[in-house]
């Protein structure tokens, strides 16, 4: 026998079946006539008054095929091919108990009923061109397309000229000037050099220029000094970090999955950040925009030899997970691509055709089908992109050991579990796999095979079954015998089966009996019978194994023969490589497998700085299938199947053809980036313009539909879009065009006469003043103190106070650091058209009072104090101004600052730092490292922690993740050393009773455990509390004997390693007094936090005047706004 066909053809036939409807032209004509003669008049006369254009009782209308398929509140009105089950027929024929239609007047005649039944059974033909309602946008598609500005082809408009004006530098300016003059406005003068460089820096790289950079630019008298500046900035790697952040808003980038209700789910994506790094890199390379999009949709399909490119696919996968509801996830991807890339608001069409734009449910599900056929592998199957650059050999070594210890066992468990599940599926679902193999053999489309709920079997599984049938087994003999039967279908076939079996003496009894008793009437039915026998033997064997695991097999030779077959199958299933396994469950993983995968993800997240990088990619579904329309968006109510495709509206513009193989992502990328696509270039040109000006040419950047406001400068928009498209899609060229323009270089000062005409600056008579978004604000604060870490790439940092550039901070869409939403950072639950810009007091509270800001101020003060002594007030003020604003203070500003320093200092100096007394109760605490001797049960080598960074006392100045530290209410032991919080009993504490109270809790990724010892200098070890888990535990001790001069050591020792041993331990020591009534009360107490805050130099009762001044400069409008 020969079963040879390529998998490729197989997948293709599956898809083709679902989209092809084969009827002859003559047939069609006759059906249409039948409809026009017998059905349409009937629907119009009897139904349309209540279910037509004017009224839709119970949500039903009967004036289009789609409407009937959608139905009303009681569900679909017709089921093509099945009149008996169709509500429309049932209500007119009296078969529906509680509903008879029409409600008044005569019932339909018997003849009419017969017509209706015939029409439904014949497939519900509708003459589509003459839709009853010609008012729908869909019906008017051509008109709308010809008239709506966004749907017309993009053509390069003629550039206007203005002979009397030498203001214009670029074509942009000619368009802008025309608009200005029409309104009686004039442009503003060019901004000065200082303003221009600051504007260009923040705009292109999101960071402030240094004083030196500003001075050099001011002194640069070359004619093209400004253009050279722009070039330099475009070459900086920080450009990608700044503009990458813009793009991540569109791509709704986040490092977490969003809310989940499945315990054990790892909330973080282990590899989302590789997508963020891809974006930054692509922008820095000036990857042409069409390619940028193509890679984000389909990098895997364009022979991405460069593994780095696969990370681009994170565009699709870093979205929210909607409690893992697949239809929401896929719908969101349709939204992302439609609104994000093309300004199409398609989500309405998830449930009904778009009300205003010519977009249909078919469009929505055509795109949905594309994404449904792109599956997401489990984390361990994601494509690897190489190790992270690791300069530290120690880290590398640790990585290898942790792989062995933690990751490998889990991987092995997952592989073993998946192998077991694969074998189970092959055996349990024999019936369906055999049916598919049979279909392949007989040239039947897969789509015709009824698979019940098992419609997503594995293509690999079919291959395995085919191989099995090629081996010399009873089953294979049967198979050949049955396929050799020449009778086609019906009872004759069943007879023939019985006859053939009677001759087959060596055959299998179980199969014989079943085939004879079930009388299958076709080859495929016969094969299903065989499949069911296999399935039942499998179940019997399962049960037997449970009763007696040592059982060696069935006594019945027929059953045993089948069992042996199943074992062969199991062998084949087990022999799968890990890569082949990865092709199996794609998106239909059983829960146990997902759970295991999440365990692995948790380890990957825990060691995110060390594990090899992987792309958060999608892969093609091996078995491609089209999607059925979800009636009213309900995934459980399916309507007609829609071939994978694109918006009908743009099918000609973008030369859309049927998707022949695969998901269609490659085609989608081609359509979106097609030169004839009227939206893509307009949408990105408008976005880039908006990010430069803070105001868009089209006010709604993600909605270019018919209800959106027209562009303020339609020709300018088309000019930018056309030059972008025709000039190789270079975004950097677009930046140049915009930033070189006179429009961009204008001053931002308000001019009263212009304000009166155009208060919103719709005509661009000046450059808008911009407020810094959160990221450049935060980055700029770190930049002016010299702390900013702009290193490219790497896993997200989850410390909001880290000096890392903001784009690298962890974004948790489920629970964002509170400061982020306060400053309008989006939750990234959907693609974002543009950032809101709110001004709320919570922002001011953060800037006035948060430690992040005051620490920056302290840094600035320190920097300038090392250069200038306090006596040189003017010089030190100037130094602050230069660092923070890149310029010298004006005379007035200097005067203000001097007056402030003088006044504040006199108040401050009345309580000089050096003379400030530490309250005795605070002097009790010290912070150090040491060793706990388990034999002698004492503490040795207590060494104070010498370095303070404003929040924590550290072992070393260059505090790394292995160094010990102590904070106000927590800490971490060192690599080999314990961390010790020591309390010294105050003088005078005689004969009192003391208590220790506190709560210990491990950090989020608590490592291998710690031991906590409470050691008294008088009594030795009081108690040891071993901690294996992060769970919180009370640490309480009573009746401590403490005399003046005694000390109490609170020791935390690491075990094997300390890396994730961070803990919080808020504690207090209480002196117990007894009042007159004999009731104990807290006579005195020493809290770890209070003392900590007061006993470090930084936190000593206030900020000095210089810190206060530095903070004012940091949070002022001068800092926050760019002219």
């Amino acid at each position: 026998m020969c079963i040879s066909f390529s998998l490729h053809v197989l997948a293709l036939s599956w898809a083709l079946f679902l989209c092809a409807v084969t009827t002859t032209v003559a047939d069609d004509r006759a059906k249409l006539d039948y409809f026009e003669n017998n059905i349409r008049p009937l629907l119009v006369e009897k139904c349309a008054s209540c279910h037509g254009e004017d009224a839709q009782e119970n949500g039903l209308r009967v004036d289009s095929r789609e409407a009937l398929l959608l139905g009303g509140q009681r569900g679909e009105a017709v089921i093509p091919g099945d009149a008996e089950a169709s509500l429309l027929y049932r209500v007119v024929s009296g078969e529906e108990e509680d509903l008879v239609m029409p409600p008044e007047g005569d019932m339909l005649s018997e003849e009419e009923q017969t017509h209706l039944a015939h029409w439904i059974n014949d497939g519900v033909t509708w003459s589509g061109k003459q839709q009853a309602n010609a008012d729908t946008p869909l019906a008017q598609m051509e008109t709308i397309q010809a008239n709506h500005w966004a749907y017309r082809p993009i053509e390069l408009p003629d550039v206007p000229t203005h002979k009397d004006w030498d203001w214009p530098r670029e074509a942009i300016d000619q368009f802008v000037l025309r608009g200005l003059l029409e309104k009686g406005l004039t442009p503003s003068a060019e901004a000065d050099r200082r303003t221009l460089i600051r504007r260009a820096y923040f705009d292109l790289i999101g960071l402030p220029p240094s004083y030196e950079a500003v001075e050099a630019f001011v002194a640069d008298h070359r004619k093209n000094a400004y253009e050279r500046l722009i070039e330099r900035l475009l070459e900086r790697p920080e450009y990608g970090q700044r503009w990458g952040r813009h793009w991540l808003d569109v791509a709704r980038y986040s490092d977490t999955r969003g809310h989940t209700n499945v315990p054990g789910t790892e909330i973080r994506y282990p590899y989302a950040w590789t997508y963020r790094d891809y974006v930054i890199d692509a922008l820095n390379q000036d990857l042409p925009y069409d390619q940028f999009i193509t890679e984000q949709l389909a990098a895997d399909l364009f022979g991405a030899n460069d593994k780095e490119k696969l990370a681009a696919l994170g565009f699709l996968t870093v979205g929210r997970r909607f409690l893992d509801r697949q239809h929401r996830i896929l719908g969101e991807r349709v939204d992302l691509v439609s609104r994000g890339l093309m300004g199409i608001t398609i989500m309405c069409a998830k449930c009904h055709d778009h009300k205003f734009d010519p977009l249909s449910m078919r469009d929505f599900y055509a795109l949905y089908g594309i994404f449904e056929n792109a599956a997401e592998p489990l984390a361990i199957d994601l494509p690897e992109m190489g190790v992270q650059s690791q300069s530290d050999p120690e880290k590398k070594q640790r990585f290898e050991s942790l792989l062995n210890e933690e990751l490998n066992p889990l991987r092995h468990e997952l592989v073993a579990l998946r192998r077991k599940l694969i074998v189970e599926e092959l055996q349990q679902k024999a019936e369906y796999y055999l049916a598919l193999v049979a279909a392949a053999e007989m040239g039947t489309e897969f789509g015709k095979v009824d698979l019940g709920d098992n419609d997503r079997l594995s293509l690999r599984g079919i291959e395995i079954w085919q191989q099995l049938l090629q081996q010399d087994t009873t089953l294979a003999r049967f198979w050949e015998t049955l396929l050799a039967i020449e009778e086609e279908e019906g009872e004759a076939y069943a007879h023939e089966v019985t006859r053939v079996l009677a001759e087959d003496e060596g055959g299998n009894r179980l199969l014989h009996e079943k085939l004879v008793s079930e009388k299958p009437q076709s080859a495929s039915a016969a094969l299903r019978v065989i499949g069911r026998v296999l399935g039942s033997v499998y179940e019997r064997w399962e049960k037997l194994q449970k009763l007696d695991p040592g059982d060696q097999g069935f006594a019945d030779p027929a059953a045993e023969e089948i069992r042996q077959l199943l074992l062969l199958l199991a062998e084949a299933g087990k022999a799968q490589s890990v890569e082949e396994q990865g092709q199996w469950f794609l998106g239909r993983e059983p829960e146990s497998l997902l759970k295991k995968s999440h365990e692995i993800e948790s380890v990957l997240v825990k060691y995110r700085e060390l594990v090899p990088r992987r792309a958060m990619a999608v892969v093609e579904n091996p078995l491609v299938r089209d999607t059925a329309i979800h009636i009213r968006g309900n995934p459980k109510k399916l309507g007609p199947v829609v071939p994978r495709g694109f918006y009908e509206l743009f099918s000609e513009d973008c030369e859309v053809t049927a998707v022949k193989e695969g998901s269609g992502r490659a085609e989608l990328a081609r359509w979106i980036t097609h030169a004839g696509n009227p939206l893509t270039a307009r949408v990105i040109a408008n976005r880039i313009w908006g990010w430069h000006f803070g105001q868009h040419l089209v006010e709604t950047p993600s909605d270019f539909g018919t209800r959106s406001a027209a562009p303020t400068h339609p020709q300018l928009l088309d000019y930018l879009a056309a030059t972008l498209r025709d000039g190789g899609w270079s975004l950097k060229d677009l930046h140049r065009q915009i930033m070189h323009s006179a429009t961009y270089r204008q001053q931002s000062l308000a001019r009263q006469e212009a304000m009166a005409i155009d208060p919103d600056n719709q005509c661009y008579w000046r450059k808008n003043r911009r407020r810094l978004e959160f990221e450049p604000m935060r980055d700029a604060m770190l930049a002016v103190t010299g702390e900013l870490d702009t290193a490219l790439a790497g896993p997200p940092v989850d410390d909001i106070d880290s000096p890392r550039r903001s784009i690298y901070l962890l974004h948790d869409r489920r629970s964002m650091a509170p400061v982020l939403p306060t400053f309008d950072v989006p939750a990234a639950n959907a693609t974002l058209p543009k950032r809101s810009e709110t001004t709320v007091p919570q922002q001011a509270l953060y800037l006035m009072n948060n430690g992040f800001v005051t620490r920056r101020a302290a840094q600035l003060s320190r920097h300038t104090s090392s250069v200038h002594s306090d006596a040189q007030t003017d010089k030190r003020i100037t130094a602050l101004y230069r660092r923070i604003y890149g310029r010298d203070p004006s005379a007035d500003e200097l005067k203000d600052a001097e007056a402030f320093i003088a006044e504040a200092a006199s108040a401050f100096l009345s309580r000089p730092q050096s003379a400030r007394e530490i309250p005795p109760e605070d002097a009790c605490w010290s912070y150090g490292t040491g060793r706990f001797d388990t034999d002698q049960q004492t503490v040795h080598d207590f060494q104070p922690l010498p370095y303070f960074d404003g929040r924590r006392w550290w072992q070393r100045a260059s505090h790394s993740w292995q160094d010990a530290y102590l904070s106000a209410d927590g800490g971490r032991p060192g690599h080999q050393t314990a961390v010790i919080r020591r309390w010294q009993a105050p003088p005078g504490a005689v004969g009192a009773r003391y208590l220790l109270r506190g709560n210990f809790k491990g950090g989020p990724h608590f490592g291998d455990g710690v031991d906590i010892h409470v050691v008294s200098s008088r009594q030795g070890l009081l108690k040891t509390f071993p901690r294996d888990t992060a769970e919180s535990m009370d640490i309480h001790l009573e009746n401590l004997e403490i005399e003046p001069g005694d000390s109490l050591d609170l020791v935390v020792t690491p075990r094997g390693e300390n890396t994730f041993d961070d803990f919080s331990w808020s504690l207090r020591i209480v002196e117990v007094g007894i009042n007159a009534a004999g009731t104990p009360f807290a006579a005195a107490q020493w809290r770890s936090e209070d003392a900590f805050q007061r006993s470090v130099p930084f936190w000593e009762g206030g900020m000095d005047p210089w810190e206060q001044l530095a903070q004012v400069l940091l949070i002022s409008n001068t800092f926050m706004f760019v002219d």
């Binding site: 309405c348 709110t838 001004t839 007091p841 509270l845």
Partner: protein
């Protein structure tokens, strides 16, 4: 109790009016959209005279059982342990055997409503509240049902009702957020995250300010960054004065700019908020007898805080009695008892307190969950018969009191078993429309444009429930 008006107040109002189309406010005022964007919380007049100015919403997370509280069903005793007789539509969820309430009911008030012992305090006040017995919703699962309740739609990114109200009316108190959500999560959010107070597709400023009431004794844990740890009193004022002076210089050099001015004012507001919030959120200022009235439970302490907030002009306070789903009692009803009793005492205290202070007339108090529960018992699980109840979206109760609500009314009715709203059904959109109506807002006119269409809280439904209006 409202703070004295600050010079920026009149300025803000002027800006708001300017945005509404009134001209002639001087050159500095001619700033259009920009100004409104900078001052989106400016008080806006309602559509018509409001009956209530503020809302306190105690949200019974998980779905309070109506048949064990305010909807007494003697028929359940008759059919106890048996399937309910086949009346009404045959639905999948109409399964299990009738389970009478294990709690004692007693007749109360002039309307003679039977109220169970779980709400005995509120029972005694039944003449002061309105009970809607015919609520119904569209979704049988918590997530969707809660989103429907809070946002009126299960659409992605639909804004919450508090956001709608803030967008519609602005704020009354410059020193505090207009919309506050209280939830004792101790770092954890409720099951659906911030859905209940989100701004959705509106600007984030309309989002409710979540206050985690896990630790209520420390104001600084309730409101972040509310205190400067280093600068106090005169020193802090001096620093702010310098900032103000520099910002004014910066502004003057630029010929006026609403965004710059807005930000200058926001610093002043924040400076005042340090005092206002520290005061508003400090429960220790309440005298002992008030604490005693409310009690020490989480719902009580939060409602007390809610009262302090609305007293100071906060417009909308949403209270989650506990952060998880305390009213989702599938297993047995013993878990319902303590939380119901806590809420009973707390809300009774709140009503008494508001009345005493003359605030009840202008405050709308709502107590309701996302749906009700079945009159039948849950089936077996792991071989054990369960004595809890499943979700019931077809019928549940809402308790309303205060501004514009007709007290002593029992509105609508369920069927014989409390399975389905039978008489005068009130859909959640109807209740949402009614709440907006009481605040002086027409729910069909309160629209927000997003993605090319106008949205509203009540989606495409909603009728004001006239029968419960005073």
């Amino acid at each position: 109790m409202l703070p004295e008006s600050f010079s920026s107040m009149s300025r803000r109002e002027a800006v708001a009016r300017c945005g509404l189309g009134m001209a002639g406010l001087g050159v500095g005022m001619l700033l259009g959209k920009e100004a409104l964007a900078a001052q989106p919380l400016a008080a806006v007049p309602p559509h018509f005279a409001p009956r209530a100015k503020r809302v306190i919403h105690l949200f019974l997370n998980g779905g309070l059982s109506h048949v064990d509280t305010f909807d007494y069903k003697p028929a359940l005793t008759k059919y106890a342990g048996k399937p309910l007789p086949g009346v009404g539509p045959d639905r999948d969820d109409r399964q299990g055997n009738a389970m009478p309430s294990p709690f004692k009911f007693q007749q109360h008030g002039s309307n003679g409503l039977m109220v169970s012992e779980l709400f005995e305090n509120l029972g005694r006040k039944i003449d002061e509240v309105c009970v809607v017995q015919s609520m119904h919703t569209d979704a049988p699962e918590h997530g969707d049902a809660r989103q429907l309740w809070h946002c009126g739609s299960i659409a992605q990114n639909a804004p919450s009702s508090g956001a709608w109200v803030t967008y519609g009316l602005g704020t009354e108190n410059e020193n505090l957020p207009a919309f506050v959500a209280l939830c004792p999560g101790s770092g954890q959010l409720p099951e659906d995250g911030s859905t209940g107070w989100r701004a959705g597709f509106m600007p984030p400023i309309y989002q409710g300010t979540l206050v985690d009431t896990g630790e209520m004794r420390d104001v600084e844990k309730l409101i972040r960054n509310v205190r400067n740890p280093f600068l106090k009193g005169a020193a802090h004022r001096r620093q702010m004065d310098l900032l103000h002076r520099l910002n004014q210089r910066h502004l003057a050099a630029r010929g006026g700019d609403a965004a710059l001015e807005g930000r200058i004012q926001s610093y002043e507001m924040a400076y005042r908020m340090q005092a206002a919030a520290t005061d508003a959120f400090d429960l220790s200022q309440e005298p002992a007898h008030v604490h005693k009235l409310y009690g020490e439970t989480k719902p009580a302490q939060q409602l007390l805080l809610a009262r302090r907030l609305i007293e100071r002009g906060v417009r909308f306070v949403q209270v989650w009695p506990y952060h998880n789903q305390p009213f989702d009692n599938h297993e047995n009803l013993t878990s319902l008892e303590p939380v119901a009793r806590h809420c009973d005492r707390a809300i009774s205290a709140l009503l008494a307190d508001l009345k005493m202070r003359g605030l009840l007339e202008e405050t709308l108090v709502v107590m309701c969950g996302e749906f009700g529960r079945m009159p039948t018992a849950e089936g077996e699980m792991d071989g054990k018969q369960r004595t809890g109840r499943n979700h019931n979206p077809h019928c549940f109760n809402a308790i309303l009191a205060g501004g514009g609500i007709r007290s002593g009314v029992v509105y609508g009715a369920s069927d014989e078993f409390g399975y389905e709203a039978a008489e005068n059904p009130v859909h959640i959109h109807d209740l949402q429309a009614t709440i907006l109506h009481l605040l002086g807002l027409d729910h069909t006119r309160l629209t927000y444009r997003h993605a090319g269409r106008d949205f509203r809280l009540t989606d495409v439904g909603g009728n004001v429930v006239k029968g419960i209006l005073a």
